[in-house]
Symmetry: C2
Subunit: 255 residues, 2 copies
């Protein structure tokens, strides 16, 4: 099972959109995908038709109950190949509740072993804040995707994300590979073009060579509760995420 | 001193853009404005030219040091009428550190009294997560602005924001007035138009009657580190925020 985390401390950069878009394309390639929604705001859970406040079982139970098993907490979605471990507002209380419990950063890494052979891919959508939930995702994954909007405010936070990774890597045997994915690129906007140049000059080593363009169909897809590739397979946003998937799979063979 | 909080648990809906845009317009009306950046990601702090990781004094010190005074922690900005209490990544550790300290939700409300007569407006930019920092902002303000992108994922979280407010209001003598501000409205996108209709049908009582349109100049302004009104006073985004300011000031007189 291949495990990817999608994280960035900046809000609204396209983390949830990246997670659901990649999941949709993988599902259409007949891969079995488990989504994990670690965001207390639970956008991914809502996107797939669940009411986050009414979710009985999900990620939260995994952290709170020391003996919890992941399998019974997993929910089906409207898409055969895609299952989900739902997020819920209660996740926001974990930081306080877990306090200094030993191993609190490894809960997810330990529990997902149980489904190793049930899924081909496991994608983790993270909340826009550095804390216990993101640390769990970084410990559990073998590749990190960092969506970054091509604009000033989002890039400013990227240096910090890289510093966080350097810190996390000190406690890993092998350092965690990561790819920075430029999103919502609008070639008609000077600030967007300028921001992409800044990205390409300062983050060359980990930056994906292409971009995810602005595509208003993403908003239509979230309204319809479907990955965009299930709605409009040839949308420019889908073509771009397919190219990203290809780059990751080719790169992983080399890694 | 008038205190407004700008908050929404959803990321990337325009909280920081709303805060800086209103501050710019107020400054041009010769009002003295103090900005408080409660977000550990500190977009507002970065926008105004500070490096969040190098900030010596700011909001964090206010929470950590029981005897801290706010005045010495305030920094100047490039704009005469606008000062700032900077945000920093350390804010993300407060949830764990403050644990169950009595009065932890009232720190901001208590300390800002010291600058009552120094500023006309105090605007608080919040992180995209419901926790101690947002609770402090809601306790300290006398009006809450909730920017909401006109799209499905952002609206889904709005019901939860309203439930949070009902909870908070139980412990206030007078319930906190709030205005929901539709942002990034794009009349060419079907999903945006549909989302606005959903907002107008379901949240009529607190919804501002107009919208903040999509305006690519906001990205240029953040790159330039200036409120948009200082760069392009007649930009459509500025005109919209000026209209919002008028609505709030008229409404406050009635309240
Ligand atoms: N390439 C794109 N083109 C146009 N709109 C996009 C694109 N990617 C994402 N969006 C839209 O931007 C908004 C924010 O995206 P999304 O919710 O995925 O971000 P996020 O990083 O997950 O936010 P949060 O910080 O709240 O978790 C959504 O309305 C989404 O539809
Ligand atoms: N009306 C608008 N038109 C076009 N772009 C906008 C508009 N409002 C905000 N933006 C852009 O959207 C992005 C997100 O805005 P902003 O950072 O203000 O959101 P936020 O809610 O503060 O995010 P966070 O959750 O990270 O705090 C920024 O790039 C900003 O320039
Ligand atoms: Mg998200
Ligand atoms: Mg912000």
């Amino acid at each position: 099972m291949i495990v990817w985390a999608i994280a960035n401390q900046k809000g609204g950069v396209g983390k949830t959109t990246t997670t659901i878009s990649l999941a949709g394309i993988l599902a259409q390639q007949e891969k079995r995908v488990l989504l994990v929604d670690l965001d207390p705001h639970a956008s991914l859970t809502a996107y797939l038709g669940y009411q986050p406040d009414e979710v009985e079982s999900g990620c939260y139970s995994l952290f709170i109950d020391k003996k919890a098993h992941i399998k019974p907490l997993i929910n089906k979605t409207a898409f055969d190949q895609i299952d989900i471990l739902c997020g819920s507002p209660a996740l926001a209380t974990l930081e306080r509740q877990m306090g200094t419990r030993p191993g609190k950063g490894l809960v997810l890494q330990q529990t997902i072993k149980e489904v190793e052979s049930d899924y081909d891919y496991l994608l983790i959508d993270c909340p826009p804040i550095l804390g216990l939930l993101m640390v769990n995702a970084l410990a559990a994954c073998n590749l990190l995707l960092i969506p970054v909007q091509t604009e000033f405010l989002a890039i400013k936070g990227l240096e910090r994300m890289e510093r966080t990774l350097t810190m996390i890597n000190q406690s890993r045997k092998k350092s965690l590979p990561y790819i920075i994915v430029p999103t919502m690129f609008d070639r008609r906007t000077r600030a967007s073009v300028k921001a992409l140049r800044v990205l390409r000059d300062n983050f060359t080593e980990h930056l994906w060579k292409k971009v995810i363009p602005i595509d208003t169909l993403f908003r239509e897809a979230s309204q319809a509760g479907k990955p965009l590739s299930f709605m409009t397979p040839e949308a420019k946003g889908v073509i771009a995420f397919r190219a990203l998937l290809n780059s990751i799979t080719v790169q992983s063979r080399v890694l």
